[in-house]
Amino acid sequence: MSFTPPLTRIKRFARKVVYGPKLPLALTGAILLTFALTIVSVAWYTLDGSSKLDLSRPGYERERSEVRTTETQKTYDTTSPLNQQAIDDFLKEYDDRSKELSGYGSFGDGALDDNDIQLKSQTGGNSSTE
């Protein structure tokens, strides 16, 4: 059995891969590409904050029903003359949307008070920094 230098062995292997059957190479490439794309998409999903707002996860069934359904995107007229009627139409839709917004949580309700997160002492002796 003769000794083959590592470089020659690598060259021989590379030649075998290049001139040999292409199917194993294609399969390996496809699997590696799939792994890479999966890693990128999961990282993207996690890092850009989408995961925090993804209510399709298990345990969010009730919340899913509370989410406003996405309307079909309305196309607005940008070239017609501006008259009182146009202003009135604009304000009608604007006010409807403002009213809709007032129905959503405003994050100003002190929802993290000790009482709300079950940390209120029975005797009421809370000497927290609040």
Binding site: L82, I87, G105, F107, S128
Partner: protein
């Protein structure tokens, strides 16, 4: 060259230590101000508290999503109306200014919500039976960040009102 590298490495170490000490300081300050009774309450109600926190997180996610979508729709409407002003050769710098401010406020709302949500996620990770003061410190931070989100919502509402007032004025001018 080597001196510069060494200086950089030393400065990095100093920075890491400073950050670590300041974080530890915050945690200690929190534990200093919490009474033994409060610490006992946190330990005793750890699971209940974290469950309540989870419910708040879910409720807030719904508000965040609904608000985000409504804001996007509103911005599209405003941009289109600003374009209509421009097409009709009516100068409306105030409308453009309010729209830009609104866009910025909406972006801040989104980023501050992300921060707040990260706080809640961190609070849910803390073992509050073993580390009640650390848990409470994260809760305090979450409260502050939630207030920031609330402040952004108020700012957006204020800008929505200002834009409306401006439009009404333009309407009066058209009469």
């Amino acid at each position: 060259m080597i001196d510069r590298m060494l200086t950089r490495i030393m400065l990095s170490f100093v920075a890491v230590f400073l950050v670590a000490f300041s974080l530890a300081g915050v945690a200690m300050a929190q534990s200093d101000t919490l009474s033994d009774e409060m610490l006992d309450t946190i330990r005793a109600r750890c699971s209940n508290s974290q469950f309540a926190l989870q419910q708040i997180e879910k409720r807030d996610a719904v508000s965040r999503i609904n608000r985000g979508r409504a804001y996007d729709q509103m911005l599209r409407q405003l941009s289109a109306f600003n374009s209509r002003f421009a097409y009709n050769k009516i100068s409306s710098p105030d409308l453009i200014q309010y729209t830009t401010e609104l866009q910025d406020a909406i972006n801040s709302f989104r980023s501050s919500y992300d921060k707040y949500d990260t706080d809640i996620a961190n609070a849910l990770k803390v073992n509050c039976k073993e580390k009640p003061s650390e848990y409470y410190a994260v809760i305090v931070k979450a409260r502050e960040d939630r207030n920031t989100v609330g402040a952004q919502v108020s700012k957006i509402e204020e800008l929505i009102g200002k834009y409306r007032e401006a439009i009404v004025k333009y309407g009066e001018g058209l009469k």
